[in-house]
Symmetry: C2
Subunit: 209 residues, 2 copies
């Protein structure tokens, strides 16, 4: 037997069930609207048990935000693998679109948190996000200097990419309504990815490849 115990089976299983349920409920109802009793119910455990694993609603919410940020940062790496604008941006846009498809709930929670003034993640914004952004701004500025793309302020390009890709997660309900009430099929989603990539790449005047 190890002195340092592995986390017990029920703990791992329960924490996972709680986190999944919490992601659903927070995205549907917001932080204030979410109730611990509803989260517990969806996780299939009594409310008191939830508070045993996560003492407060706040700690549970922080855990969810941390998970989202780590996914987001992982996708961000796709920016670094290549120095060709069309290729680097194409990969990045695709990575972000795929996250919107696979983790729409996390994207919604993040969006709501920002809209409310980021009361729980101000620190991450001012450090992680700011640093990441400024380093990529420099890359794009180099592309401009090398006349690989049109002369634009990189910030507005990044905002456009974030906005457009996240829209497919955050506004999936509206998109569904405008798609005859159904979610986009895989084929249509692929089409959307290609269209988005093409408009942006062509829009910044990428030359050569």
């Amino acid at each position: 037997m190890n002195v340092i115990q592995k986390k017990s089976r029920p703990r791992v299983k329960n924490e996972e069930a709680i986190l999944n349920a919490a992601e659903e409920v927070f995205s549907e109802l917001g932080f204030a609207g979410a109730t611990t009793s509803l989260i517990a119910k969806r996780a299939g455990i009594p409310k008191a048990n939830l508070h045993y694993y996560f003492p407060t609603k706040e700690t549970l919410y922080q855990a969810i935000l941390g998970k989202i940020l780590s996914i987001w940062l992982h996708a961000a790496e796709t920016f670094d693998d290549c120095d060709d604008p069309a290729d680097a941006l194409g990969r990045y846009i695709r990575a972000k679109m795929e996250i919107s498809r696979s983790h729409p709930l996390g994207s919604k929670i993040w969006a709501q948190e920002i809209m409310h003034g980021a009361p729980h993640i101000q620190g991450s914004l001012e450090t992680t996000l700011r640093d990441w952004t400024e380093s990529r701004v420099k890359i794009i500025q180099r592309w401009v200097a090398e006349k690989k793309i049109d002369a634009i302020d990189p910030h507005y390009l990044l905002y456009m990419i974030w906005a457009t890709t996240q829209h497919y997660a955050d506004f999936e309900h509206q998109i569904g309504v405008l798609n005859e009430g159904r979610a986009l099929s895989d084929e249509k989603y692929e089409d959307a990815m290609e269209t988005v990539t093409r408009i942006i790449v062509q829009g910044i005047g990428v030359s050569g490849g």
Copy 2:
């Protein structure tokens, strides 16, 4: 004296104060997080008085959503004044960006409502928004048929315009953090409008003018 009385002065004044305060509070805390007592406090009246004008939190919220929709529809008209793609889209993007600048709170409330699955405005989505969208889709399809723009599905273009323009309202906090902690100046905002317009117009391959 008229038989049909004009609305009394205090009623008009109070309703306006309540609506303004409610817009603030709903955008900051969401529907569930907003409390009638906080809205009343910001409007400078006792809570019971708020319930005199708006019987329930729900009626107040509906009033706000109605206001937002009417502003939104007004901007939508800019699409109709011209049949030249660059001109029509340019005007529409500018109108939407100006709404994001002047009414960011309404945009945030709308976004949250959609993210939560549109529980209070499903009807408007399925009628007003769907009709408006389909009529504009037809216009854009005609541009494609006439080879005025590249062959794209108009839906993805519209989503991109909505996402990008509304991002400046919904994510203004994040944009501020990435702009040395300050809101964008009028000059920078103008720059953003021009960049957004240019990328999209050039991105869909507008030919001629």
